[in-house]
C-alpha cells in the first residue's frame, strides 16, 4: 500500500505532471536536433535544477530522458542524421521511408514502438530493481570493484573504433577523479598546493565541458551543412498496423531491457542488436531491410526506449550507471539526496516509486507529443547553427557556474571542452572519461576496503575465484574482453562469411 501511495505522488501535486510533460516536450526537440545528445541535455539540466525541490527536479529529468531518447529518431527519419546515438539504427530504414514520402507513417510507428518499449522498460524496472537490490546487499567491496571495472570496460570497448583508446579515456577519467583529498585519509593528491583543487574536480563541470562544449566545437566544423526542408502528412498509425508489429516490438523491448541492465551498454547498442536480430528473424518483410522496412523501425525504437528502464536497474540498485546518460543521471540523483545502491529501496523507497511513476507518465506524454506537433518540429530542426551554438555555450557557462557559484568552474568547463574536442577529433571516446570521473571514488574506496579486509593483493585476487558472486562477475568481464578482442572478431567474421557462402 505504501508503495502505491508513493507512486500516486504526482497526482497529488499536478505541477509534477506538468514538469514531466515539459521535460518530454523539451526532450523530444532537444533529442531531434543533431548534436544535442541526451547526455548533454541532462548534464546541463542538472545544474539548473540543482536548487529545486527533489521531486520537481526528478520529474523534469525523467521527462527529458524519455523524450531525448525518442527524439533522436525524428531527425534520423527526416534528415538521415540521428539526433542521438540510440537512433542510428532507426535511420537505416526510417530515411528510405521518408524519401518515399512516408515520413509521417514512419514517425507514427516509431512513436508507438517507443512507447511500448518504454512501458516494458518501466515494468522491468519496477519489478527487477527490488530483486537486484536484495541481491546487491550480498555484494562485497571486491564485487563492487569488479562491477565498476565492468562498467568502465563496457563503455570503453563498445561503440569505439579502438578498445585501447576507450580504456585510455577511462583511465584519464579515473585519474581526474583522484584529484583532491583522498576519500579515506584526507591526504591531498595531485593538488600541487592549489587550494581550489582540494575539493576535487566537479564532475558536473567536467560533463558539461566534455559533452556540451566539445560537441559545439565539433559541430562548428560542419556549420555550413545545408538545412533540409521536409513535408509531413498523416502520422497516427492504424490499430491494425500496431497489432501487426506488436510481437516484434515486445521481443525487441525485452532485449532492450536486458542490454540496458548490463552496466556500460546503452540504447545505441540495444537498437543495433535488435535491428540485426529483426533482420535475421523477420522472414518476409514487405520491403527489404535498408529500403524502408517497418520492422527496421519497430525493433530499434522499441529497444532503445526499453533500455531506459533497464539501465536504471543497475544504476539505482548497484550505483553503477548503465551508460553515459545514466552516469549523468547518477550524478543528478546524488545531488538531490538519493543514494543509488543496495540501500536505495530501504532508505528512499518513495523516490524509487516516484521515478517509476514518472516514467509511466512520461511515456504517456511521449505518445501525445510524439504524434502531434511534427510541423513545429521541422522548424526547430532548421534553427541556424549560428543561433544554436552560442545558446548552448551560454547554457553551459550558466550551468557550470551554478553548481558551486564559482567563476573558476567556467574555466574548468572550457578546459574540459577543449580536451573533449581534441579527444573526439582523434577518435578517443569521451563517455569513458566521464564515467571514470564519476566512478573513481567507488573504485578506490572499494579497492582499499577489499585490500584492508583481505590484507594482501594475492588474497584479494584469490577471493575472485572463491566467492560465487565475484566468480560470476569475473566470468562476465573475461567474456566481454574475449568477445571484444580482434582475434575473436576475426573468427566471428570468418564464421559468418562461411555461413553466408553455404546459404548462397
Amino acid at each position: 500500500m505504501g508503495n502505491l501511495e508513493f507512486m500516486l505522488l504526482p497526482f497529488q501535486q499536478p505541477i509534477l505532471i506538468l514538469l514531466i510533460a515539459l521535460g518530454v516536450f523539451l526532450g523530444i526537440y532537444i533529442g531531434a536536433i543533431p548534436g544535442l545528445s541526451a547526455t548533454m541535455a541532462i548534464s546541463l539540466l542538472v545544474s539548473f535544477t540543482f536548487s529545486w525541490e527533489t521531486n520537481s527536479a526528478l520529474a523534469i529529468m525523467m521527462g527529458i530522458h524519455c523524450g531525448v531518447v525518442y527524439g533522436g529518431s525524428r531527425s534520423a527519419i527526416l534528415l538521415n542524421i540521428p539526433g542521438a546515438p540510440a537512433a542510428v539504427a532507426t535511420g537505416l530504414d526510417g530515411y528510405p521511408l521518408a524519401k518515399k514520402g512516408l515520413a509521417g507513417e514512419a514517425i507514427g510507428i516509431s512513436t508507438v514502438s517507443s512507447v511500448i518499449g518504454g512501458y516494458i522498460g518501466v515494468i522491468a524496472l519496477a519489478f527487477g530493481a527490488p530483486l537486484i537490490s536484495g541481491l546487491a546487499l550480498k555484494f562485497s567491496p571486491r564485487d563492487y570493484l569488479l562491477l565498476a571495472f565492468m562498467g568502465l570496460m563496457l563503455v570503453g570497448s563498445l561503440g569505439t573504433k579502438s578498445m585501447v583508446k576507450g580504456f585510455l579515456s577511462a583511465a584519464i577519467g579515473v585519474t581526474l577523479g583522484m584529484v583532491g583529498m583522498d576519500p579515506l585519509s584526507g591526504t591531498p593528491r595531485f593538488t600541487y598546493g592549489n587550494v581550489y583543487l582540494m575539493a576535487g574536480i566537479d564532475y558536473i563541470t567536467a560533463m558539461i565541458g566534455l559533452f556540451g562544449v566539445s560537441e559545439v566545437l565539433q559541430q562548428v566544423l560542419d556549420r555550413d551543412a545545408p538545412v533540409v526542408k521536409q513535408k509531413i502528412d498523416r502520422i497516427v498509425p492504424s490499430f491494425k498496423t500496431v497489432v501487426k508489429y506488436l510481437p516484434l516490438s515486445i521481443r525487441s523491448s525485452i532485449v532492450g531491457v536486458l542490454v540496458g541492465a548490463l552496466p556500460g551498454a546503452g540504447g545505441d547498442l540495444s537498437a543495433l542488436i535488435t535491428y540485426d536480430q529483426a533482420k535475421r528473424t523477420v522472414k518476409n518483410p514487405e520491403v527489404p531491410f535498408g529500403e524502408g522496412a517497418i520492422e527496421g523501425l519497430v525493433a530499434p525504437e522499441s529497444a532503445n526506449n526499453a533500455t531506459i528502464g533497464g539501465a536504471f536497474i543497475p544504476m539505482l540498485t548497484l550505483g553503477i550507471p548503465g551508460d553515459a546518460v545514466t552516469a549523468v543521471m547518477l550524478g543528478a540523483l546524488t545531488i538531490h539526496g538519493l543514494k543509488p545502491g543496495p540501500m536505495l529501496m530501504t532508505d528512499t523507497p518513495h523516490l524509487f516509486y516516484f521515478i517509476v511513476m514518472s516514467f509511466i507518465i512520461a511515456n504517456l506524454f511521449l505518445l501525445i507529443f510524439g504524434l502531434t506537433g511534427v510541423k513545429i518540429f521541422t522548424k526547430i530542426v532548421e534553427i541556424p547553427k549560428g543561433i544554436l551554438f552560442p545558446s548552448i555555450i551560454i547554457l553551459s557557462v550558466v550551468g557550470s557556474y551554478a553548481i558551486n557559484n564559482s567563476l573558476y568552474d567556467i574555466f574548468w568547463m572550457l578546459g574540459f571542452g577543449v580536451l573533449g574536442y581534441v579527444l573526439k577529433r582523434y577518435d578517443y571516446p569521451v563517455a569513458p572519461a566521464v564515467l571514470g570521473i564519476i566512478l573513481a571514488n567507488l573504485i578506490e574506496t572499494n579497492y582499499r576496503r577489499a585490500i584492508i579486509l583481505d590484507r594482501t593483493v594475492p588474497k584479494m585476487l584469490l577471493g575472485f575465484f572463491t566467492n560465487p558472486i565475484s566468480h560470476f562477475l569475473l566470468a562476465i568481464i573475461v567474456m566481454m574482453f574475449v568477445t571484444q578482442s580482434t582475434k575473436y572478431k576475426a573468427f566471428r567474421d570468418a564464421r559468418a562469411a562461411k555461413r553466408s557462402e553455404k546459404s548462397s
Binding site: 585510455l168 584519464i172 585519474t175 593528491r189 557557462v397 572550457l414 582523434y426 579497492y447 582499499r448
Partner: protein, 148 residues
C-alpha cells in the same frame, strides 16, 4: 582498423604518454610517502602505469600506420596538425568563449557580457572578418569591464 592516422594523431599519443609519465612520477612520490597497497598512492600508481602502457600501445599501433603528413619537416608537421585540430572557426569559438569567461571573471556582469557574446557569437565570422570581429569583441568587453 584504419591504416592512416590523422594529422597530429601520432603526436597526440606522445602527449598522452607524457601525461601518463607525469601521473606515474607523481604517484611514485605519493607511494613513497606511504608504501602500502591500501595507501592513498596505490590507486594513482596503478593508474599511472595504465596510462603509460595504453599510450605506448597506441604509439606502437600508430607507428605501423601511414600518416598524411609523414616525410615533411617537424615544424611543417606541427603546423598542419595544429591547423587540422584548431581550424579558424574552432579557434574563434574557443577565443570567444575564453574572452566571455574572462569578462565574467573580471566582473563585467552576466547581462552585459552575455549580450556582447550573443551579439558577436551569433554569426561566426568569415576568415576576412576574423580579426575585425575579435578586436570588436575584446574592445567591447574592455570598455564594459573598465566602466564597471
Amino acid at each position: 582498423m584504419e591504416n592512416k592516422t590523422k594529422p597530429g594523431e601520432k603526436g597526440f599519443a606522445f602527449v598522452l604518454l607524457g601525461f601518463g609519465i607525469f601521473v606515474l612520477v607523481s604517484a611514485v612520490d605519493m607511494y613513497r610517502q606511504s608504501p602500502s597497497v591500501s595507501s592513498y598512492g596505490a590507486m594513482p600508481l596503478f593508474l599511472g602505469i595504465l596510462l603509460t602502457v595504453f599510450s605506448l600501445i597506441i604509439i606502437v599501433q600508430n607507428f605501423r600506420k601511414e600518416s598524411a603528413i609523414s616525410g615533411k619537416r617537424f615544424s611543417e608537421q606541427a603546423s598542419v596538425a595544429l591547423r587540422h585540430l584548431f581550424s579558424k572557426d574552432v579557434t574563434v569559438m574557443i577565443l570567444l568563449l575564453l574572452l566571455y569567461s574572462i569578462a565574467l571573471f573580471l566582473g563585467a556582469g552576466f547581462t552585459v557580457a552575455t549580450s556582447i557574446y550573443l551579439l558577436v557569437g551569433n554569426e561566426l565570422p568569415d576568415e576576412e572578418e576574423l580579426s575585425e570581429k575579435c578586436s570588436l569583441y575584446s574592445a567591447g568587453y574592455g570598455v564594459c569591464a573598465f566602466g564597471i
